[in-house]
C-alpha cells in the first residue's frame, strides 16, 4: 500500500444481508469502531481503542457492509492535504506526487485506488469535498443534523458532518441513505421528513437536469485558477445542454468565510481538545507533580504542530479582551453568510462553483505556510457556516491530468436536489 491510505487495515464484518452486503466501506479514523484502534491521525491516540461503535458504524454493519480499514487523515481533521497525520502523508492515487486533499484524504484515496468500494469521511470546512475533488471521486457534505455525530471524535461540533465518498453520485447517495436519520444519542440530528424532505437519495440520482435553475456565485469563481475555471464552465455547458439554466449571483459575505470559519473552528477545537489530558485515554507522559504541568507536557508530546497552533489560536480568540473582536464578529459573519445563501437559494434550485479554487498541491508544498493552506478552503467553508448540504463531483481534468471538482450547494435538507444535479456529471 504505497500511497498510505489506511492507518489500520482490518476486517469488520457486517450482517449477512442488507443494501451494502456486497460492499466494502472504509471509515475515517476519527469515527469510533468498537475494538479497532481509532487514532484521529494523532500520536495522542495511537493506542486508543474505542469501547463502542459510532452510530454510523452501527448502521453500516446493520446494512451488511464490510469495513476494510480505518483511513488516514490530517491530525484531528486539521488540514487540507492529509500531510499533518502522525502516520505520514497520503499520496494522491489519481495524481502521483500530489496531495489527495484533506482532511479525509485517506478515504478519498482508497476509493480512487479501488481498494474500497465506498468510504466515510467527515467535513468540518470541506474535508469530504476537497479530497473528493482532488482524487476525482464524489463526496457529499450533508445538511447539518442529517447524520448522527455520535462516536465522531469532535473537532468543531457546530460545523461538522459525516459524509460519504464514492466513485459515482448514485453510490454516494446509497451510502448516505444508510447513515442518515435521527439518533437519540445526538440531539442535533433532525428528521428530514419533518422538514418536507425525504430519504430517497439514490432514486434522485437520475441525471435529469431539465428545468434545473443553477445560481453561480461570482465570488467563488473569480478567485480560482484559470484551468479550474475553464473546466468548471465546460461542465456548466454540459448541464445547459441537458436542459439546465444558470444565472450569476453576488454573495459578498463569502469573502469573509475563511476567516470566520477558522475563528469558529479553532475556538471550538480549543475547547473540544481539552479532554485529551492523558489520564482517561490518550498519551500520558507518566509524569507526577503539578497536575496542570503534567497535563501540558503530555499534550506537548501527543499533539502535532498544526493541532497545537489551532488550539492556541482558539484559546487566544476566546480569551478575555479578544472574544468580541474575533469570536463574536465571526458569528456575525456566519449569520450574514447563512442569510445570503438562503436568499440565493430562494431564486435557484442549487448553487454551483468549483469545489476547490486550486488543483492538488505538490506534496510538501503548503506545509510551511498555514495561511496559504487555509485560503484553499474559500469555496467549501461557507457551506459549513450556512449548515447547508453540498456535493463535489468530478468535472474533468486539467491539461496536466489533475482532477477538478464541481460543487453544488442546496437548501437545508435538499440533498435530493444536489444529488440529481450531480448525477448529470458523474
Amino acid at each position: 500500500m504505497t500511497y498510505n491510505g489506511y492507518i489500520t487495515e482490518t476486517q469488520i464484518k457486517g450482517s449477512d444481508d442488507g443494501p451494502l452486503a456486497d460492499a466494502t466501506v472504509a471509515v475515517k479514523d476519527n469515527i469510533s469502531t468498537e475494538g479497532v484502534p481509532t487514532t484521529c491521525g494523532s500520536a495522542m491516540l495511537d493506542d486508543y481503542v474505542p469501547p463502542y461503535d459510532a452510530t454510523v458504524v452501527t448502521r453500516l454493519k446493520d446494512a451488511g457492509a464490510t469495513i476494510p480499514g480505518k483511513t488516514n487523515m490530517d491530525e484531528f481533521g486539521m488540514g487540507t492535504t492529509t500531510e499533518t497525520s502522525a502516520f505520514g502523508p497520503t499520496e494522491n492515487p489519481a495524481a502521483e506526487g500530489h496531495v489527495p486533499g484533506g482532511s479525509s484524504g485517506g478515504s478519498a484515496a482508497v476509493v480512487a485506488a479501488g481498494d474500497a468500494d465506498l468510504a466515510l469521511g467527515t467535513d468540518t470546512g470541506g474535508s469530504v469535498r476537497c479530497p473528493a475533488a482532488f482524487c476525482g471521486v464524489v463526496g457529499i457534505k450533508p445538511t447539518y443534523g442529517l447524520v448522527s455525530r455520535y462516536g465522531l471524535v469532535a473537532y468543531a461540533n457546530s460545523l461538522e458532518q459525516i459524509g460519504p465518498l464514492a466513485p459515482t453520485v448514485e453510490e454516494a447517495a446509497e451510502l448516505l441513505e444508510v447513515i442518515a436519520g435521527p439518533d437519540e444519542h445526538d440531539a442535533t440530528t433532525r428528521n428530514a421528513t419533518e422538514r418536507g424532505a425525504d430519504y430517497d437519495f439514490a432514486a434522485a440520482a437520475d441525471g435529469d437536469v431539465s428545468g434545473l435553475s443553477i445560481g453561480v456565485p461570482t465570488e467563488l469563481v473569480e478567485g480560482a485558477d484559470e484551468e479550474v475555471v475553464e473546466t468548471f464552465w465546460s461542465a456548466i455547458d454540459d448541464l445547459e445542454a441537458g436542459g439546465a439554466t444558470y444565472h450569476e449571483v453576488d454573495l459578498p459575505s463569502v469573502e469573509h468565510a475563511v476567516e470566520a470559519y477558522y475563528v469558529i473552528a479553532m475556538s471550538e477545537a480549543s475547547s473540544n481538545l481539552a479532554r485529551f489530558d492523558g489520564v482517561r485515554y490518550g498519551q500520558s507522559g507518566g509524569y507526577d507533580g503539578n497536575w496542570n504541568e503534567t497535563f501540558a507536557r503530555s499534550r506537548e508530546e501527543g499533539f502535532g504542530e498544526e493541532v497545537k497552533s489551532r488550539v492556541l489560536l482558539g484559546t487566544y480568540a476566546l480569551s478575555a479582551g479578544y472574544h468580541d473582536k474575533y469570536y463574536k464578529q465571526a458569528q456575525d459573519a456566519r449569520a450574514w453568510i447563512k442569510r445570503e445563501f438562503d436568499e440565493a437559494l430562494s431564486e435557484a434550485d442549487v448553487l454551483a462553483s468549483p469545489t476547490m479554487p486550486v488543483t492538488p498541491m505538490a506534496m510538501g508544498e503548503s506545509l510551511s505556510d498555514p495561511l496559504k493552506m487555509y485560503l484553499a478552503d474559500a469555496n467549501t467553508t461557507p457551506v459549513n457556516l450556512a449548515n447547508l448540504p453540498a456535493i463535489s463531483v468530478p468535472a474533468g481534468e486539467t491539461d496536466d491530468d489533475l482532477p477538478v471538482g464541481l460543487q453544488f450547494v442546496g437548501p437545508a435538507f435538499g440533498e435530493t436536489e444536489i444529488i440529481r444535479a450531480g448525477s448529470a456529471l458523474a
Binding site: E259, T294, D332, Y374
Partner: protein, 92 residues
C-alpha cells in the same frame, strides 16, 4: 486595534492557558505565523452587524436510567486506574 504584533511571550502565555507546553523553536515559529493569521482575522472588522435569528433552542427531556458503558470498558484506555477509578498524576 491595529496590526497585532505577536511576541514569544504572548504565545507562551496562551500556551499556558491552553495547557500545552511548547519548545523554544515552536514558540518562535508560532509567534511569526500567528502575526500573519491574526492580521488576516482582522478583516472580520469589515463584517456588518447582522440581525441573528434565534435559531438555537434548548432540547430538554426528563432524566431516565438506561444501559450505559460498563466501568471496565470506560477504564480500558486509561494509563493508570485504581479500585475502578481513573488515577491522575500524584500531586506533590
Amino acid at each position: 486595534m491595529s496590526e497585532p504584533a505577536v511576541d514569544t511571550e504572548e504565545v507562551s502565555h496562551v500556551a499556558d492557558l491552553a495547557r500545552v507546553d511548547l519548545a523554544d523553536d515552536e514558540l518562535e515559529l508560532f509567534a511569526e505565523q500567528f502575526a500573519d493569521i491574526l492580521a488576516y482575522f482582522e478583516t472580520l472588522d469589515e463584517v456588518p452587524e447582522v440581525e441573528r435569528e434565534p435559531e438555537l433552542t434548548n432540547v430538554m427531556r426528563p432524566d431516565e436510567v438506561k444501559e450505559s458503558l460498563g466501568q471496565n470498558a470506560a477504564l480500558q484506555n486509561a494509563e493508570e486506574t485504581e479500585d475502578g477509578y481513573f488515577k491522575g498524576p500524584r500531586v506533590s
